[in-house]
């Protein structure tokens, strides 16, 4: 959670920046994508997803993961998100 006080005592953090940071956080949530990759595999293993569905989703998620990891690396130190 954001600490509202932080926003009051740190006027250099504009609301737009905060919203932007939150969007980045959500868009490039590497851990969440990794969890989705594991879930996809589990659902394939227990027979809830066909091999085709599994492969398609996996390709998509791996692409997302690459983008997220690259974005995180590029943004390192530029965006601070307090929780």
């Amino acid at each position: 959670m954001f600490v509202v006080d932080d926003l009051l005592v740190r006027p250099f953090v504009s609301l737009i920046n905060v919203v932007h940071a939150m969007a980045i956080e959500e868009l490039y949530d590497v851990e969440a994508i990794r969890d989705d990759i594991k879930e996809n595999r589990l659902l394939f293993e227990v027979g809830e997803r066909s091999r085709e569905e599994y492969e398609e989703r996996r390709t998509d998620l791996e692409r997302q993961l690459d983008v997220a990891e690259q974005a995180r690396e590029n943004l390192q130190g530029k965006v601070e998100i307090k929780r």
Partner: protein, 210 residues
């Protein structure tokens, strides 16, 4: 031609390892690099960063499985996927630096295997997680040496645990899992996997240069 590096599967105390198999990145031969009383089980690799493909991940695990059961079976401390050393000298340096940790890990897992249990609910189902976890714990604790909580990476996962089990207790553990499947198999998907090399029960950080 690219130089040959050493892809490492695990550590054993048995230097007498050499067999043909389907290893990581198309390797066909697995052998041991010995240092003192420890041996790293390796195959030759052209790359320091093997692809994390399903095929390679499966090959890594298949080699560990073979080590667990081949020639009467042996104790193995598994390496994470992707541990490649530049050459035998670098690998031996790690064996030397980590010998106490490896020795302790080998003792901890000797004669034991890892088994995995996942319980998966239907999408959107209401679940009394606490009672299921309590029931599973009650059934499996007496027939296992140790348990490790794994992440609930899906909202649908009710339980995700690994168990360290004495090889001699496998039948009793299987029977206890049958009881869980009888109790929950109608309502939930119960996934029972293994035996695996004891990935979840060794935790060694290697800080040396690969």
């Amino acid at each position: 031609m690219a130089s040959t590096h050493l892809y490492t599967y695990g550590i054993t105390d048995d230097a007498d390892v050499a067999f043909e198999t389907d290893g990581v990145d198309g390797a066909t031969d697995v052998y041991a690099v010995e240092h003192g009383s420890l041996a790293a089980v390796v195959s030759d690799s052209e790359t320091m960063e093997p692809d994390r493909s399903d095929e390679n991940l499966r090959a890594h695990d298949d080699v560990l499985q073979e080590l667990l059961y081949r020639d009467g079976g042996r104790t193995v401390v598994p390496m994470q996927f992707g541990m490649v050393f530049k050459n035998a000298r670098a690998l031996k340096g790690v064996l030397r630096g980590g010998r106490r940790a490896f020795r302790k890990a080998l003792n901890d897992v000797e004669g034991r295997v890892e088994l995995g249990l996942k319980i998966l609910a239907d999408e959107g189902a209401t679940v009394d997680r606490e009672s299921i976890v309590a029931s599973v714990t009650e059934r499996l604790e007496p027939v296992s040496v140790s348990e490790a909580e794994n992440g609930l990476f899906s909202d649908r996962l009710v339980l995700n645990r690994s168990y360290l089990v004495e090889r001699d207790d496998r039948a009793a553990f299987d029977e206890a899992v049958d009881g869980i499947i009888d109790e929950y198999g109608e309502t939930f998907t119960v996934q029972y996997t293994g035996p695996w090399a004891p990935y979840s029960f060794v935790d060694i950080e290697i800080g040396a240069q690969r």
